[in-house]
Amino acid sequence: MAERKLGMTVDLKRCIGCQTCAVACRMQNNVPMGMLWNRVLTDGGEHLDRARGTYPYLTKSWLPLACQHCENAPCVKVCPVGATYKREEDGLVLIDYDKCIGCRYCMAACPYNVRVFNWKEPVRQPGHDYGDAKVPKRRKGIVEKCSFCVERVHQGAEPMCVLCCPAKARKFGDLNDPDSEVSTLIRRRRTKQLLEDKGTRPQVYYLL
């Protein structure tokens, strides 16, 4: 197992639902109006930031959600043109924006609803590109999603959501390296993967 398998842990005990990762992701990746690659959901409540349960037995927790970079990725299987692919050397699920034909089969295949489509020419507010210059531009008619900040990772940096999390809830590293921080956390803590019964084997682990 010489190759790396990059993955993330999200500590749900540390997450305070501040949405910083959602905004950081949007800023880094130049995500246009109307969509997010990374969202912070309120676990169990009826609305955003609503507590769960009845008084006085209330709890409040969040579920940060983006592409799970599944090992057994349904989106990769269905892409008819190979625009969505699983990168061999580090296990990232990526999209070749120049190949995507916009059939949206991957959106039907993804159980996590983390893929977003450019239903029209992207609009940004304020009206200029605010993302990292290395992040490729997207036009209307194609699908996009979290790339684990592949441009940053390529330079040895962490994804922006990991860097910006004020609660240090997110960690990023090589799941194939038993000594990495993520592997250690997964070993020591109780974890869950989302929709585990679907057998997608996400490379994102939630620490409980």
């Binding site: 309120t42 190949k99 893929r115 977003v116 209307k140």
Partner: protein
């Protein structure tokens, strides 16, 4: 027979509608798929529904007509040519619906240039292309008076399994997805094939009745009753599959799956689910129960129309039941990818979120939908004018088939009777 002028009128209307559809598509390409009602939750809509529906219509017609040769069912041979023409037109329309659904139609060729064979969509591209070629060749050989029976047999023997396969593969586009519990069923392909059979046969019956107006000979009573009887049986098999599918979900009442089933039984898709049961099952079966009514053109026509509409409803509930409820639906939900900026308020109040899907087609989608179907009707009318009525061979074998015995290749070449 309808006069030349009213035929021309009919075609002019169809051409106008098709042109309007083309205009709507150009508008859609210019502005993006945002002009449709689709969004990040309901990311497929009317186009893919129509695609499913048309592949079914196409496969059904061809299965009935090619089984005529394969199993040597003589009376069916009379309808072979109109049926193959119908299949050809329907499969072209199905491909068009995939095309208009693409976000980047300019990259359409990527499907051919860099196909990935792990995608059921590529399987479908392959079988649809093969199917189209076979249908056109089959039509060509059926239209030539000097075609040998063995050639017809060979083509029908290839066409029959390909037609079954084309709709199975279309079912697998949906049925192999673990993300969509209502689709993910081994029964989906058989269900699609039997829906194809009943809707395809029903449309064929309707078209044959319409062709009378173009001077094509009337279906004789025996054949009409046989086909109508077959339709009634197919409708029953169809509802048996649906019942089996729903019962399998209802009995264990697994929480997640029940949400989807409730959408069908009592929720927003109930009009389509029960609409299918009433129009596509109860009505046609009641109408076709007795032999005397199966010989009645009007009754069979009504039953057929019910089946076609019913199966369309089935496509609607099949597609949308899978989409309306995201598996992870914690608030605020999924970003729709669409937003409307209120005229008076600031950007801050723009809502882009939803925890459940909703969809109601826009005028662009309706125009394209109508336009493609009008184009199909136009194609069929032209095909009927030049391929069907002009052939003495076909009309002759039709007349022969009413004698219902030994219509062989020699007799089939007798001159036009009607």
């Amino acid at each position: 027979m309808v006069g030349k002028t009213s035929q021309t009128m009919w075609m002019a209307i169809l051409a106008t509608l098709a042109a309007a559809g083309l205009g709507a598509w150009i508008y859609q390409v210019a502005n993006g798929l945002g002009v449709t009602a689709m969004n990040n939750i309901v990311s497929w809509g009317l186009y893919i529904t129509a695609f499913m529906f048309l592949v079914g219509l196409s496969a059904g017609g061809l299965i009935v007509s090619s089984s005529a040769s394969v199993f040597n069912i003589k009376p069916f041979k009379a309808v072979a040519k109109p049926a193959v023409l119908l299949s050809t037109v329907c499969i072209i329309l199905a491909a068009l619906f995939i095309f208009v659904d693409l976000g980047r139609p300019d990259r359409f060729l990527n499907l051919v240039l860099s196909p990935r064979f792990n995608s059921p969509l590529i399987w479908d591209v392959v079988v649809i292309a093969a199917y189209l070629v076979i249908s056109v060749l089959y039509l060509y050989y059926l239209s030539r008076p000097d075609t040998k029976e063995t050639t017809k047999y060979t083509f029908s023997a290839i066409a029959l399994p390909v037609a079954v396969l084309v709709h199975s593969v279309t079912a697998w586009i949906f049925g192999l997805q673990i993300a969509r519990p209502v689709w993910h069923s081994a029964l989906l392909a058989p269900l699609f094939v039997v829906s194809a059979l009943d809707s395809g046969l029903a449309l064929l019956l309707l078209v044959l009745m319409g062709l009378v107006r173009l001077g094509y000979p009337k279906l004789e009573k025996n054949l009409l009753a046989t086909l109508a009887g077959l339709l009634a049986v197919l409708v029953m098999v169809d509802v048996f599959f649906v019942f089996s599918e729903v019962l399998t979900a209802l009995y264990p009442s697994e929480e997640r799956l029940m949400e989807y089933i409730n959408l069908l039984l009592t929720g927003s898709l109930a009009p389509f689910f029960w609409g299918e049961i009433i129009l596509g099952v109860v009505l046609p079966f009641a109408l076709l129960l007795s032999r005397s009514r199966r010989e009645n053109r009007t009754v069979v026509g009504m039953a057929s129309l019910g089946v076609v509409v019913g199966v369309f409803f089935k496509r609607v509930w099949l597609l949308f039941s899978a989409y309306l409820l995201p598996l992870i639906n914690d608030p605020p939900g999924v970003t729709l990818g669409k937003y409307q900026v209120p005229a008076t308020e600031a950007w801050g109040s723009v809502s882009i979120w939803a925890t459940a899907g909703s969809y109601s087609p826009t005028w662009v989608e309706y125009l394209i939908f109508i336009g493609i179907f009008a184009f199909g009707a136009l194609l069929y009318s032209l095909g009927a004018r030049y391929l069907l009525t002009a052939s003495p061979d076909e009309n002759a074998s039709q007349a022969v088939s009413s004698r219902a015995t030994t219509a062989g290749p020699v007799e089939a070449r007798t001159p036009m009777v009607s």
